[in-house]
Structures are given as C-alpha cells and as structure tokens.
C-alpha cells in the first residue's frame, strides 16, 4: 500500500517545525543563565508564590470537579429526563467557549454586584479578584474532562454487578463504595489528571477574575507574560520550563496510580 513515506514525511516535518523546534527553544533558553542563575530565578519569592498558587488551585479545582463530574455523568447515563441531550451539549460548553469570553462571563457573575457575587458577598464570601475566583475559573474549564472521562466507563458498567450486590444484601452506600466507585476509579483519576493539566496552564479565563496581585493572586502563566514584557526571555522560559516539568511529574504520578488501580 502506497503513501507511507509521503505521509510520514509530511507528519514529521509538520511536527518538527511546529512543535519540536519551538519546544526545544524553551528547553534550551533558561540555561543561558547557568544552573545557578536558573535556580536563583526560580527561588524568587514571587515565582514560588505564583507556582504554588497555580498548582494548588489547579489540584483543588480538579478535586472538586471529580464529584461534580461524576454526578453529571451519572444522571446522563442512568436517568432519562427531558433535556438530557441539552445537558449533554452544555457539558462541552467550556471546551467550545473561548477562554477570554469565559473569563469575562465569570467575572461578571462573581463580581460583588454580580448575580452570584452579590448573594455570596452578603454572606461574607468574596470570589472575584481573590484566589477563590481563580479556583472558580479552573473549575469551569476542567469540568468536561471529568464528565467525558467517566461517562463511557459508566455506560459499560454492568448493571448486574449492582443488582448482585443488592441481592446479597448490600445497601446503597455499600454498593457505591464496594462496587461502583472501584470500577470508576481509573476513569475518575484520568479525568482528574486531565482537568488538572488544563487548569494549571489556564490563562484567559483566569486573568480576568483573578485580580492579579503579585504574591496573592498572580498565576504562573501571567508571571511568564510579565517577565516577557520586561524582555527577560530566560526568566520567562525558566518559569515555563518549571511549570512543564512539575506538571509532567504530577501527571506521571497520577498515571502510575491509575495503572495500579486498574491492575
């Protein structure tokens, strides 16, 4: 069958020029500072605060997304209700909505005079322009990943297992803990990992709602932009490379955990 050489050639050229060459520039640039320079650049309290904020918020948002995503996937697979197709389409909204639009919308909603911000402010909860707002934006962009990861597994889950558990005298809670959750765990972990990966690098939807105060509500991607605006290419790449390496380690750990649970 023909076409292997040509298609592989085009694919490799496309991949090399668009992805590998630019990323190798990112991998190489920080070291123009020397090892000590990179370490000093990353040890800056503002960088550490931004990295901590980005990673902790992304982990927290992904963790909150797991039960919400599971609940949405559950009702879409197990319940038949009018508007199920609409819900199905709405799940993908955070994927399709440009991030700047999401950022604007969430800021309007959660601002002190917004639809949700006003009642929350009345009970003393400030969301917009605080780290909590960052979490809300990350929650929004990450939700579909959990739903879409759990949904197919849930659909293939044999009902017989649950019914057998019920026949053997298990109550609803026991069935959930012992039968359903263990079967869904790898998919939940995968969804968590994808939601985290998306949230940690998220920029557009976060910067509008974050307030962007250094040391308090400044995310790591924004710090890259700030350093780039000061023409500190090496410093910007150091933060970028640190983000990629940290995210890679976390995703690798989650992947190993997922494999252990599947086995």
């Amino acid at each position: 069958m023909p076409g292997f050489g040509l298609s592989l050639g085009v694919a490799l050229l496309w991949l090399g020029l668009i992805v590998l060459l630019p990323l190798s520039a990112l991998a190489a640039r920080p070291w123009t500072l020397g090892l000590q320079g990179v370490l000093d650049s990353l040890a800056d309290p503002r960088v550490l605060a931004a990295l901590r904020l980005s990673f902790l918020s992304a982990l927290a948002a992904a963790a909150v997304n797991v039960p919400i995503g599971l609940l949405l996937a559950w009702v879409m697979v197990r319940e038949n209700f009018p508007g199920r197709r609409w819900l199905d389409a709405a799940i993908d909204l955070p994927f399709a909505l440009p991030t700047a639009v999401a950022g604007l919308a969430l800021t309007a909603l959660y601002a002190p005079n917004g639809w949700l911000g006003a009642p929350l402010a009345a009970v003393g909860l400030k969301v917009a322009y605080t780290p909590l707002g960052i979490g809300v934006a990350m929650l929004f962009v990450g939700l579909p990943f959990v739903v879409r990861s759990v949904e197919p597994v849930l659909r293939d889950l044999p009902r017989e297992a649950e019914e057998a558990a019920a026949t053997l005298g298990a109550d609803g809670v026991q069935t959930w803990w012992r039968v359903i959750l263990p079967a869904l765990l790898p998919a939940l972990l995968a969804g968590f990992a994808m939601a985290f990966a998306r949230a940690v690098g998220e920029y557009g939807s976060v910067i509008f709602i974050a307030g962007n105060r250094p040391m308090v509500s400044e995310i790591a991607p924004l710090l890259i932009v700030v350093r780039l605006e000061q023409f500190d290419y090496a410093g910007a790449s150091a933060v970028g490379l640190a983000m990629l390496v940290l995210a890679f380690i976390i995703l690798l750990a989650l992947n190993l955990l997922q494999r252990r649970n599947r086995g």
Binding site: L26, G83, A90, L104, E163
Partner: protein, 276 residues
C-alpha cells in the same frame, strides 16, 4: 430495565435535580451573563460596538488567521493520521503522544516558544531583523501560535476512526491499480469525511477563540494585530463593558454554532468527536 426499588424514587429525583441545578449554575449562567451584559443597553448599541472599525479589523484578522492555520493543521493532521493508523512502524505510539503534546502545554507557553525563536532576542531574531522580516507582533506570529495550539485536533479525531476501519479497502484499491492519491480521494476520504469535518470544526473554533498564545505574540496593536479575543480584553480594560461583552457574545455565538454543528455531525457519522 429499571429495576430500582420504589423507595429510591425520591432519592433519584433529588440527585437529578441537584445535577441539573449544578449544570445550570456552572455551565449556563456564565453564558447567560455574556448575552445579558452585551444587550444591557439594547441590541442597536451592541451592534454598533461590532461595527466599530477596530472591532471589524479584529474580526477580519481572526478570520484570516483561522483561514491559514486550519488548512495547515488539516493537511498535517491527515498525513499523521494516515501513517499512524494505516501502517505499523516502531515509534508509532510515541509519534501520537508527541502530536498530542500541545494540548498539555499552557497557552502562554505556546506563545512564548515562538518569541524565543523569532523575537528580537530570539534564536533567529537578529537574522530576521537584518532582513527586515517581522514575525512576532505581526501576522506570522499570530498564525504560528494558533497552529501550535490547534495542532492535535484533526489528527486525534481521525486516528481512532481510521484505525478501526483498518486498511482492507485501501489494499483492495491498490491491488486494482489505483494510485495513492486515487485511493485517498475515492476510498479513504468518503469513509472519514464526517470525522474530518468534526476535527476541522473543533480546530477552527479553537483557532478563532484562542487567547493566551496569541496574546503573547500579538503586541496588541489596535486595528493591526488584535484578534477578536484580544480586542475583548482591550475593551474590557478600557471599561467599555458593553462593547467588550458584545464582541464576547459574538464569540460565544461561534461556540454555540460549533457545538450545534458537532452534534449534527455526530448523528451523521458513528464516531463521537472528542473536544478533549
């Protein structure tokens, strides 16, 4: 096949209601907010904001960037899917992993890498300056950043489908003497057309809506290097809220059309395109 006990009815109904309430608050309320804010002073004011020359320039630039980036990624994506799905070779899975790499990179980093290559202090910065070629803070930079972030869409929509279809039909056509190009056009393309359209659709939606990556390479020159999402930010930062939300609403409409078209395509083709 619902054999759940009657006593569970109340529980099931409450779970359903909680789920729908959560979906409304998390997913639909933001969308409603965009349109409400855009139409706060009425439709004519919102339309006026879109007719502004800078807004119009941003719309044209966005269309132009997508018109270049999407075909590039379509050709590359088809080529990659073809060799990954139809042939066995060492490193196949690794190649697929590399193709999906841009999805796990922050948009800001997707812009940064181009500045490192072509910016004033980048690898090729001096060389370009001597020849008076502008890439960063100009159209080529916007296009490159957009190609990077939308890189995997077409390939990853096609690979699972083409793998499933195997290569029997293509081999038969080859035996009958069809050339490679004929095989692709007459045999493969009709089989993958709905999935391909889905992939292009998603690629296009992301290309038009991208913010972080283009923000890094744009330079934010009004009327020249501002795409629609960037124009939204500028208007917002200038407290022109109605205008900002009007442009945002136009982008939200694009997202809704994309979702609708995707649902239609899914009904045609058996495969479900993943936006992930």
């Amino acid at each position: 096949m619902r054999r759940l006990r009657d006593g569970n009815h109340f529980l099931r109904l409450s779970v359903l209601l909680v789920a729908i309430a959560l979906a409304c608050v998390i997913l639909l309320l933001p969308l409603a907010a965009v349109f409400t804010e855009a139409l706060r002073r009425g439709i004519p004011v919102a339309l006026q904001a879109l007719a502004d020359p800078d807004a119009w320039a941003a719309i044209q630039l966005t269309l132009l960037v997508a018109a270049i980036a999407v075909p590039v990624n379509t050709v590359g994506g088809i080529a990659a899917a073809w060799c990954i799905a139809k042939f066995e070779f060492p490193g196949r899975r690794f190649l697929l992993a590399l193709i999906e790499l841009p999805f796990s990179v922050s948009p800001v980093i997707s812009g940064l890498v181009w500045v490192l290559l072509f910016g004033a202090h980048g690898w090729f910065g001096e060389w370009l300056q001597e020849r008076n070629i502008q890439i960063i803070f100009a159209l080529p930079g916007l296009v490159l950043a957009t190609i990077f972030v939308t890189f995997p869409f077409v390939a990853r929509t096609l690979v699972p489908l083409m793998q499933e279809q195997g290569r029997g039909a293509e081999e038969a056509a080859a035996t009958l003497g069809a050339s490679g190009w004929q095989i692709f056009r007459r045999v493969t393309l009709p089989d993958i057309r709905w999935a391909l359209l889905s992939g292009i659709l998603l690629c296009n939606a992301r290309a038009m809506g991208e913010f972080g990556a283009v923000s890094v390479v744009s330079g934010h020159i009004r009327g020249e290097t501002n795409t629609m999402p960037l124009h939204v930010e500028i208007l917002y930062n200038e407290y022109q809220f109605v205008a900002a939300f009007a442009v945002a609403a136009l982008l939200a409409l694009l997202a809704l059309v994309t979702l609708g078209a995707k649902a239609l395509l899914e009904r045609h083709g058996s495969s479900r395109a993943s936006l992930l």
